[in-house]
Amino acid sequence: MEFKLTEEQVLIRKNMREFADKYVEPIAAEIDENSRHPAEVFKLLAEGDWMGIPIPVEYGGAGADYLTHILAVEELSRSCASTGFTVSIHVGIACMLVLLNGTEEQKQKYLIPMAKGEKLGAFVLTEPGAGTDVMAATTTAVLDGDAYVLNGTKTFTSNGPTGDFYMVFAWTDKAAGRKGMSCFIIPRGTPGMSAGEHFRKMGLRSSQTSEMVFKDCRVPKENLLGKEGAGLVMAMAGFDHGRVGIAAQSVGILQAALDESIRYSKERVQFGNPISRNQAISWMIANMATDLQAARLLTYNAAWLKDQKQVFSKEASMAKLFASEAAMRHTIKAVQIHGGYGYCKGAKVERLFRDAKITEIYEGTSEAQRMVISGNVLR
């Protein structure tokens, strides 16, 4: 057993660290405050091949492995969880859905511009009444001649207001149950599809989230992704990939919380000594560092399994569950270590604390992860 990154992975990680320090860290507080999508950063990410790391070169990507993508998401999230997440869902779910299920024509038309970072992907599944209970969805796609006609309302769509290519799930045959949902690639600007206003969120504020409304939206038959009725299986496989990304995002948040806690506790003097010398503080930091290591290993292991072409669904859920809950648990402590200063705008831990919460919710809540994991181990 070898716990070692390749030379290339080490270099790529360092380069992303430098990129994030230079271009992302300085604007992270501002884009959070203003809920702004940093288009200028995404242009640079595209230039450095960061928007399609695990996608083969012939489809516009960098042709590296999934673990390398995960390292990039982690380092990016260490500076800005929103930016890290946008890359994660774009690559891990939108690009991977087309790579794994698309026809050659679809890959040429949609995957290449997405993997090059010229177009942004979105994943459109959740509905107002269908969160963890995906089967409660009501959006329908009815075949009418050479096109499907979609009707329904989706919500909490990440990259909703900013996306270019939307992976939209709808019932083609509700009566067929789990085999009745299908996925469609719908380009921005298709008549009948509209994105709502960007939601005002507690955290992850620069990631753009909205409702998506489909009103007699006609989608050509050739935009059906995969087979009719295969949508749910594809969505679940997409989640497996995406969840490793959320785990990496959580690891990045947690690393940042640790960085900030170490720095501040060594600087902050009370009762004549830096507070890091108090056991109450140093043990918080010890627990934080330990959970960070565990979360990172679970995350890399899940990505490694994916790269070895092994089943990684359970491991992806475990990594996401543990890393996201660790991020939440310890960002609370990081704010505690910072005291009043940590409760104020301007302290990075204040943002980390708000950003951490979503990792326990999206791409499957912690409860949904426990359903996946228990379903696997009790089988």
């Binding site: 290339e8 270099l11 070169v57 960098a62």
Partner: protein
């Protein structure tokens, strides 16, 4: 178009140096990086290459410097030479320049050699000029802007000197040492790093080179800077001002 050599040093990343007990520097858990100024040298070499030129990255160092080669290759170099040996781990500038000169003279055709103004660890600013001397070519130092003349065969360089800018021309072959202001080094993209693994790397061992000579510099110790705070409060009465002046004189701050 020119054949360019960019020299780089693989140095300790200062962010990983810890302060041990008694002010000693602890290098036990350090990571390494390409010396900051040498990133400018690599970038400038890649920029000067133009169409049809070639850039060779060159370093001398201990075996761990091999890790720097891929990094250098991901920054635009086409090939790399590395003189690697445990005995090359901590050379003084004379020895470094001697090894570099030997490798270049015997193995790398060149028109232009680009070095950083100084290294990121010692910043002795010795290797560039000494290398030029060893090769018997002109050296242009403190370069903040570099142009390869359109017709080729020579460079035009802006040197930042104490009171202004000096513009000089020099024919090939020539060595320049560059300042950090000369460019903004790239952050390599993912593909740049992956492609680096496919570029040719030649390792030169100590046995393949003539003796490099004795070190002319001896490092006795390295220690962390120590900050002492001596707080003394003075008032504004004539007596206090006299006391203040005396205190400054005592510390040697004023004559």
């Amino acid at each position: 178009m020119p054949k360019v050599v960019a020299c780089f040093k693989w140095v300790v990343d200062e962010a990983y140096i810890r302060k041990g007990a008694g002010g000693a520097l602890d290098f036990s858990a350090v990571d390494y990086k390409i010396s900051e100024y040498d990133r400018n040298a690599l970038e400038e070499a890649a920029r000067c290459r133009g169409e049809g030129g070639r850039v060779v990255a060159l370093a001398v160092g201990g075996p761990e410097a091999a890790k720097g080669v891929k990094d250098a290759l991901s920054r635009g170099a086409d090939a790399a030479f590395l003189a690697a040996d445990p005995a090359f781990a901590d050379l003084d500038p004379t020895q470094t320049a001697a090894v570099l000169a030997e490798v270049i003279r015997t193995r790398i055709p060149y028109d232009l050699i680009v070095c950083g103004e100084g290294s990121g660890d010692r910043y002795a600013q010795q290797v560039g000029p000494r290398l030029a001397e060893n090769l018997g070519i002109p050296c242009v130092s403190y370069v903040q802007k570099l142009t390869v003349a359109a017709e080729g065969g020579r460079i035009v360089a802006e040197r930042r000197v104490e009171e202004g800018v000096e513009v000089v021309e020099a024919p090939f072959p020539v060595l320049v040492t560059v300042l950090p202001e000369i460019n903004v080094p790239r952050i390599p993209g993912v593909k740049d790093t992956l492609l680096a693994a496919r570029k040719p790397v030649a390792i030169v061992k100590k046995e393949e080179l003539p003796p490099m000579g004795e070190a002319k510099l001896e490092t006795l110790a390295l220690a962390a800077a120590r900050m002492e705070r001596n707080c003394e409060i003075f008032g504004t009465t004539p007596e206090d001002i006299a006391r203040f002046v005396a205190a400054l004189q005592r510390q040697g701050a004023i004559g």
